[in-house]
Each structure stands twice: as C-alpha cells, then as structure tokens.
C-alpha cells in the first residue's frame, strides 16, 4: 500500500520545507488555490473523510455547517491536544511531517474562509511545538502563509497554542474555551462551534490527522481517497498500537483493516507469545473487545456494529497477564482525574466509580458493587454536558460485561487471581 500520512516518516529531515517540497509538498495547495472553496469542500465530502479525533463525523459535512453569510470571521482550530490514552499518532505527524499539517491547514482554511488558524497542541508536546514553530516560520518565509498565500488573494495566519494539561481540552468546545484563556469547561450544545465557536464566531475544529489528509484529497480527488477505505470510511488510518505487543507503533493502513491483522501482522503479535485477553480498539474510552471479536474491520461503522467504536484508532492490546480490574481502575482513575467538574453526573459519578473499583481491586469489594457500578454508568450515560461522561462509562460497562467473572473473582477471593505482577509484563 502507498503510504500517505507516514510517507515522509522515513525520510531524513522531512520536517524541513525544502525536503517537503522536494517530495511533492505544497503542490496540492497550489492546486487548491486554483479551485473555488466550494469545490474543495465538495472533494472533502466525496472523500468520506471522517474526523480522526474520535467522533468520526464527516469533515466535509462539518465544514458545510458554517453559516452561508460571512458576517463574522471564521476560525480553524486544529486539535492537537492528543490525550486519549493509547493515542500517539498526531505527535508523529507534527514531529516528522509538520508541513503536511500546515499544507492541510492552509487548504482547509481556504475552503472554509478562515484567515486565522490555531493549532492547539497539548502542553507536554514541547518537541512538537518547536517543530511546528519552525515550520510555520519557514512557511511564512516562503509565502505559504501570511499575506497573499502563494500570490493568491487569500491570506492566512497560523498561531500555535500550547495547552497546559487537561484531557478535556480535546473536546472541541473545551478546546475553544481554553483557547479563549479560560478553564476547559465544555459548552452546552447547541450552538455548535460551526455556528458559535471561538469568540462566538463560526469555528471549525478538526483533528491533526484529519487535516493532514486534506492535501492528498485535493491532489488526487475525493473519490480516490474514498476508495482507499471501506464504505463511508475513506482514506488510510493511523492505527497507534500499544500495550502487550511485540512491535508497538503507528501503522498507516487502509481504513477498515482487520484488527487481527493490525495486532498479529503489523504489531508482531503478543509479547512473549502470551495469549490475547482483550483489546481496546479505539483509545481508552472505546468499549473493550474479546479475542473472538478481533476479526472486525477497523472502521467507524464496523466497530459501531459490534458495540464498540473506532475512536482515535488507538489499539491497546491486553494479554492474559493483565488484571482487568486493575486495568479498569487505571482508566476510571484517569476519567475522575480529568473530569472538569462542571456537571453533576460526571463530577461525582466518575470519582465514585473510581473509588468502588479501587476497593474491588484492593480486595474489599462487595457482591453488589458490580451492579452498582452498572447503575452508576446508567446514571451518567447520555446525561452529561459533554462526551467525557460517556467516555468514562464505556470502559466500565464493557469491562464488566465481558470480564464479569474476573470482577466476581476479585470480590470472592478478596483480591487478584490473575498472575499479575506489579512490575508489569515486560519485567516478568
């Protein structure tokens, strides 16, 4: 398969604009500037490019929600707040091929009529920020951003914004709040950002990987891109594989590649050839799968059909050596830690779940705890301001549903029955 987003990962110094141009960079932009903005949007729609941040919403459709009348400035915010546990794909795009992202930003901004774009990078990614800063400077110097992009009448500024440690800022309205200099507390929706976003102006928030696809769509057409994947799931996808696999890493594969293939062929299978116990297919909030479910195609719709989700495409592989109670505790602790504290069910529900699971993990669980957890899930699910509530619930529900006996054993035997070592599998 031809690599797109990772094509330059193996080229030395690809982060430099000269190398980027030598390898075909910024030609799509040139092409896009010859098109009308609506034509670009049309190609993106045809491409079936679905949001790579997790929600999987078609990018072209999102763009077309912008008000037709341009009374206020339009903003593009690139979501580089990569924080969904298990996810580490955007980091590599920013580090290895920053100009691909910039080219995507310029084209997308042109398409939606934005003259200001922000890249919201998670605060810990200082290396990405440095690389992007440098790339933006280069692009400026070469007239790719700034006044009159490549001699056209279109102008664009890009600012890189550093976050400061809050998972919730990956939620688009929290990101906008944070970009406005506030706490990252998600807004009530509607209104959606396309109507009222940054500074109450129409705003599009897209993930790094999503935007990085745009130059290829413009270059070769939406139809071509759509055909790379499965039905309604266009393009290639960066699958970030971590956990108990021999070769963790980011793999660019056609959208809809089977999970089994990703784990056993690309990532080399399970370390020490242990038995597979569970896979979280799309970042920590996607419902966990059992080994008999891994023939699923890794696209938004196929995973949805079996009750999980593609999310960010981050595959977390869990071997027989791991304790599911402990693993769930790690996730529950995370969501409680990251709840912004705004709405009642998430604020109190996530920390309550964390405490119960910790108690079960510590061997002090009670029989009724399992059903209590499920009922707390029910009281959170769909009842919060933003998706963090659902994100916190999905692992709990799915872990209990699929590994209930492990939880019951924890309670019955007052502790772990899996030969799990505190050292972790690597050090066994």
């Amino acid at each position: 398969m031809e690599l797109l987003l990772t094509k330059r990962f193996s080229i030395p110094d690809a982060f430099r604009i000269e190398v980027y141009r030598e390898t075909g960079g910024y030609r799509s932009l040139q092409k896009a500037l010859q098109m009308r903005p609506e034509e670009v949007i049309e190609e993106v729609k045809k491409a079936n490019l679905r949001g790579r941040g997790g929600a999987g919403f078609p990018a072209g459709v999102k763009w077309s929600f912008l008000p037709k009348e341009k009374k206020m400035p339009v903003y593009l915010c690139v979501n580089a707040d990569e924080g969904e546990p298990g996810t580490f794909k955007d980091r590599y795009i920013m580090l290895k091929d920053p100009h691909l992202l910039i080219e995507g930003i310029v084209i997308s901004s042109y398409a939606i009529g934005a003259s200001k774009a922000f890249i919201y990078v998670r605060g810990e990614f200082l290396d990405c920020i440095d690389t992007l800063e440098r790339a933006v400077k280069e692009a400026h110097r070469e007239g790719i951003i700034g006044e009159k992009v490549m001699g056209s009448s279109f102008s664009l500024d890009i600012a890189i914004h550093r976050g400061a440690g809050a998972y919730i800022c990956g939620e688009e309205t929290a990101l906008i709040e944070s970009l406005e200099g506030k706490k990252g507390r998600p807004r009530l929706k509607p209104p959606f950002p396309a109507q009222k976003g940054l500074y109450q102006c129409p705003t599009i928030v897209n993930n790094v990987e999503t935007i990085a696809c745009v130059p290829y769509i413009v270059e070769r057409g939406g139809e071509w891109f759509a055909n790379l994947g499965t039905e309604k799931n266009g393009g290639t996808k960066l699958y970030a594989v971590s956990g108990h696999v021999k070769r963790p890493g980011v793999y660019e594969l056609p959208m809809g590649t089977a999970l089994r293939e990703i784990i056993y062929e690309h990532a080399g299978g399970i370390i020490d050839d242990l038995r597979l116990k569970a896979v979280i297919p799309g970042g920590s909030s996607s419902p966990v799968l059992t080994p008999d479910e891994i023939d699923v195609k890794m696209d938004f719709d196929s995973l949805a059909r079996i009750g999980s989700m593609l999310g960010s495409g981050a595959v977390i592989v869990i071997s027989e050596k791991a304790c599911m109670v402990k693993t769930l505790y790690v996730l529950a602790r995370f969501y409680a830690h990251e709840s912004c504290g705004q709405c009642t069910p998430c604020r109190n529900g996530t920390s309550w779940m964390e405490k119960i699971i910790k108690r079960v993990e510590d061997g002090k669980g009670r029989k009724e705890d399992i059903d209590l957890l499920l009922d707390i899930c029910d009281n959170i699910k769909g009842k919060t301001v933003c998706p963090l509530g659902d994100a916190a619930v999905m692992p709990v529900e799915s872990f209990i549903k699929k590994f209930r006996e492990e939880f019951e054993a924890h309670i019955a035997f007052k502790g772990c029955t899996v030969s799990y070592e505190r050292e972790g599998v690597l050090n066994v």
Partner: protein, 160 residues
C-alpha cells in the same frame, strides 16, 4: 514583592499576545512563560499576569488551578513525572513508581530534601508506543525500564 518580566521576556510576551484577536487568549502561553521564568506561579505572578492581560486575578487563579501543568509551589531541580495510564501501566509503570519512591525516599508529590527531585505521577503523556514513559522537566524518556531509570538517576545526581 512586585514581580515583573525582564525586558526581553516582556517582548516575547507581547509578541504572543499579538498572535490572538483577543488578549485574554494568551493566558495559557503567558503562564507557561511565567512558570519558566519564575519557577512556579506564585500569587504575585498571578496578579502580574492578570494586570498584563487586564483580566481579574481570580480568573487567572481559576485557570492555574484547573490545568495540571501549572504549579503553585516551587519544585525540585528535576521534576520526574511518571505516566501511570493504561499502556504504561500494562508495561510496568507501577514498578517504576515504586522504585523511584524507594530510591528517592519520597512519596508522590514530594521533593527530596536536597531539592534535586520532585516525583509526580501523571496521566497519559501521549507516547504510548514507547511505554513506559517518564518525563523529566520538559523531556520525554521512553521505553523505560528499571535499569535505564537507575542510570538516568545517577546521571542526574552527577549534574545531568
């Protein structure tokens, strides 16, 4: 004590402010700069940044308390942050945390008495493919093991 940026830093701050259509948008970046310059965000720093951006100090404080990267207290010379989230946990971060606690003789959130190390656990650092990961000050250390950690600590003790 009234605190303020040096001239060159002030220039840097003003450049950042100018990137945004609205001043207050630069709050997070400015707090990062302040933390770099002053080590942590004291009450004086909060007041200074509030003045710089003409926003209420209470607003700055809310923000400082919301984001985990901003610190209200000075830290040790090396801030060791161990990722404790899923991929790192599956690959042994708990063991690393135990090891560090023992080696440094401190608990999470504490600083060694010589002021050299502060130990924290953090949530996902977004580098799960190279788990377990720790961050020391601004730098990631990936694929960590006890042996690597041992050598790293020794290096840092010798002065980095």
């Amino acid at each position: 004590m009234k605190i303020s940026f040096r001239n060159d830093v002030l220039k840097e701050a003003q450049r950042i402010i100018s990137l945004y259509p609205r001043k207050e948008s630069s709050l997070l970046p400015l707090l990062h700069i302040a933390q770099r310059e002053f080590g942590y965000i004291s009450d004086e720093v909060e007041a200074y940044i509030a003045e710089l951006l003409q926003i209420p100090p209470i607003h700055v404080r809310e923000v400082v308390s919301f984001y985990t990267m901003f610190r209200k207290r000075p830290l040790g010379k090396y801030h060791i942050q161990v990722c404790r989230n899923i991929s790192c946990s599956l690959l042994g971060s708990d063991g690393l945390i135990d090891y560090l606690k023992k080696q440094l003789g401190i608990d999470e959130g504490e600083t060694t008495s010589d002021g050299l190390f502060t130990l924290s656990t953090v949530e996902c650092l977004g580098s799960c493919g190279t788990a377990p990961v720790i961050q020391i000050n601004d730098v990631y250390y990936e694929n960590m093991s006890r042996e690597k950690l041992e050598r790293l600590l020794e290096e840092l003790r010798r002065g980095g």
